[in-house]
Symmetry: C2
Subunit: 413 residues, 2 copies
């Protein structure tokens, strides 16, 4: 049983945070497009960023900032223009955005982190940014998380938010997060953003370590279509306002905080996968018996990312051969005689050989689980064992539907 409970409030659930989201006029649609998360005091800041060689200005900005200073107070996020592939001018626009906000909040510019999402190759509409920032600051509130969550999405069907509470040293500690997924209805949009806040007190090095591990077990374990964005970023703030003992090394309290951080990241990651373009269900692949966790994750991600497996799930076809095929090409060595594949509770393959299974029952499971997954109550569960090792990992994705192709082919007629 997890050692925490779900609460409301998103990123403003932890003590000492405010947030806001407004329509600044960046999106052509007129929907909310500018968000701010502010900590009352300097917070420990950690980040995980896209590994792409083609990056937005905000990604390089944050990465450089966090290399020299592990603290921040504010995260400013615009939606509508990705400010990627915008060259030197894009860098200047990012810097000006930070300076405008620093002036309005009367804090050092170094305390500000930036994120952008939207069309690649488009600069941020700076006139809208200049008039928007004062309004954004004026809108800050301790219940502003939902407005912020609404303002960072682009083509997501729903905003994504979660908050959890546990106790450390008999005092409540809270951790919340918001995210946007890779909804790519419009050209060039492909970004995953997530922002996490906590009022726990934790040392910078440990917080970054925890965040990197949590990212591997959540955002780095989902795939919608295998396309990494120029703007992907996960930023986590820890401001210590819970007044709980500072966590400076691994131990019981640290494990509790990391488990809660991982749970928040996994919730948001699964919400992104479920909201994948054209997806009709959430797919979870659990791999066990690998040499280590990394090998298990590699196999799980290859299976959940296989177009053939995804198409079969869309067709509610219990196609174990495609699952075996994807496992085999994952780049992880294993003996095919140890391969075992299960769909829900149904064993389809054991010792590397297919079993006589009830095809109708297996197809029925897929129909039922997919229907449940659509209702957000269930997932299509694929369990794969590749040997006797202790490495295990889980990856999440969605099926591949006509709708995905339709969305991304962007018929102009």
């Amino acid at each position: 049983m997890p050692d925490w409970q779900e609460i409301s409030g998103g990123v403003t659930a932890p003590k000492g945070y405010q947030a806001a989201g407004i329509t600044a006029g960046l999106k052509p649609s007129g929907l909310p497009d500018l968000a701010l998360i502010l900590s009352d005091v300097e917070a420990i800041a950690a980040g995980v960023f896209t590994t792409s060689q083609v990056r937005a200005a905000c990604v390089d900005y944050c990465r450089q900032r966090l290399q020299t200073k592990h603290y921040a107070r504010a995260i400013l996020c615009n939606a509508g223009q990705a400010n990627a592939a915008t060259g030197e001018q894009g860098v200047l626009d990012a810097q000006e955005s930070a300076q405008l906000l620093a002036g309005e909040l009367n804090i050092p510019v170094e305390s500000i982190l930036l994120a952008s999402t939207g069309v690649i190759g488009q600069r941020i509409k700076m006139s809208a940014m200049r008039t928007g920032i004062p309004k954004l600051v004026a809108a800050l509130s301790q219940t502003g998380s939902d407005a912020a969550a609404q303002s960072i999405i682009t083509t997501d069907l729903v905003p994504k938010s979660i908050a959890l509470e546990t106790t450390i040293g008999d005092r409540p500690v809270r951790l919340g997060g918001i995210a946007k997924g890779s909804g790519m209805i419009h050209p060039n949009m492909a970004t995953m953003l997530a922002f996490v806040t906590t009022d726990a007190a934790v040392s910078p090095h440990l917080w970054q370590e925890m965040l990197s591990r949590a990212a591997d077990r959540s955002f780095n374990s989902i795939t919608v279509d295998g396309d990494t964005s120029t703007n992907d970023c996960l930023i986590a703030l820890a401001n210590g306002q819970s007044r709980t003992p500072a966590i400076t090394e691994m131990g019981q309290d640290a494990e509790k905080l990391e488990a809660m951080l991982t749970a928040v990241c996994q919730h948001l990651a699964k919400a992104i996968a479920r909201d994948g373009e054209g997806a009709t269900c959430l797919v979870e692949v659990q791999v066990t018996g690998a040499h280590d966790e990394e090998a298990a994750r590699q196999v799980a991600k290859t299976i959940v990312g296989s177009s053939l497996v995804k198409s079969a799930i869309f067709g509610r076809d219990p196609n174990w051969g495609r699952i075996a095929g994807a496992a085999g090409r994952a780049g992880v060595k294993f003996d095919q005689e140890n391969l075992r594949i299960q769909l829900g509770d149904l064993l389809l393959m054991e010792n590397g050989q297919p079993l006589e299974f009830d095809r109708a029952a297996a197809s029925g499971y897929l129909q039922q689980a997919a229907a449940g997954a659509y209702m957000k109550e269930d997932t299509v569960l694929i369990s794969v064992s590749i040997g006797n090792g202790h490495g295990s990992a889980t990856a999440w994705g969605c099926d591949l539907s006509y709708e995905y192709v339709k969305i991304n082919a962007e018929y102009t007629t």
Copy 2:
């Protein structure tokens, strides 16, 4: 200008080869399903096989055979059952098939290589094999290549065949090939097979080296959906019947032979990509300026394999941002300020920044090139430069259409 001319005859164009293809009753459809290629004399044999951990019995059989003996006379290929994930019985079935053919041809069993394609998890129908093999041998002919090409396909729309002729030491040397693609209409089918013959005289080590390089520049540079098969194999025979001087080291003659081998493999590989499931056009991605050829290939394959890029091409949308995004996540380091992207003759991006280009013209190019590609007269050409290095490579693929999803979702209604 290439140093050769195209001729007819496929794998029986070179001297000293016969081939056959018959309906043995392996496929439920009643279409031709058993093929044989026979060299009059022992031929140097080289092979490239799937890297998957889940492999068909024939793959392990051939790999082991070629490790101990670099010669072969015959390639036997069945379509209908993949004989993958069939355990020890699958190995016995493969061995029995080879023995049956060896008896019928009155040659040593060690002179026979095997390939299978079809449904994973299904054993070869041995009763059909037993009655089929004598008929197959009886059907052997010096013009049997087309029948063989027809018998190895599963869900391909068209058989794939090519032959070229050049001169070495003033005498004609011929090289031919047949292939099947990854048509996966039925569950669990996902195999690429290619067989090449030549009458050149070449040493075993050199022939294997040439084949490996040619495979990297052709079959390993195409992608339909990124799914590697359990049964993929490329086998090449060189029987020396041209009576031309033996090629034992790299030099002018060797380069001529390798260039012709690469051209045959590229022709077959492009035919497979063009015939990809649901594809409406062939896409060619040329990458230059990389550190080395391998890095360039990695970027080219990532772009041509991106679901977002493939969907955009299906929608005839000149979406340079998705091309830049895919290049960036290919796992190859480059400076984004050096990125240059061209669609046909139209420059879309230079120095890492988008240019003002004529969107209608770019979309028009896509429409025209795709229409031409469908007629097999043209390709959609994407050229990408990532720096000043000398590494270049080309990869081929196809677009992602509704039809792909439909084929692979396998609606039972």
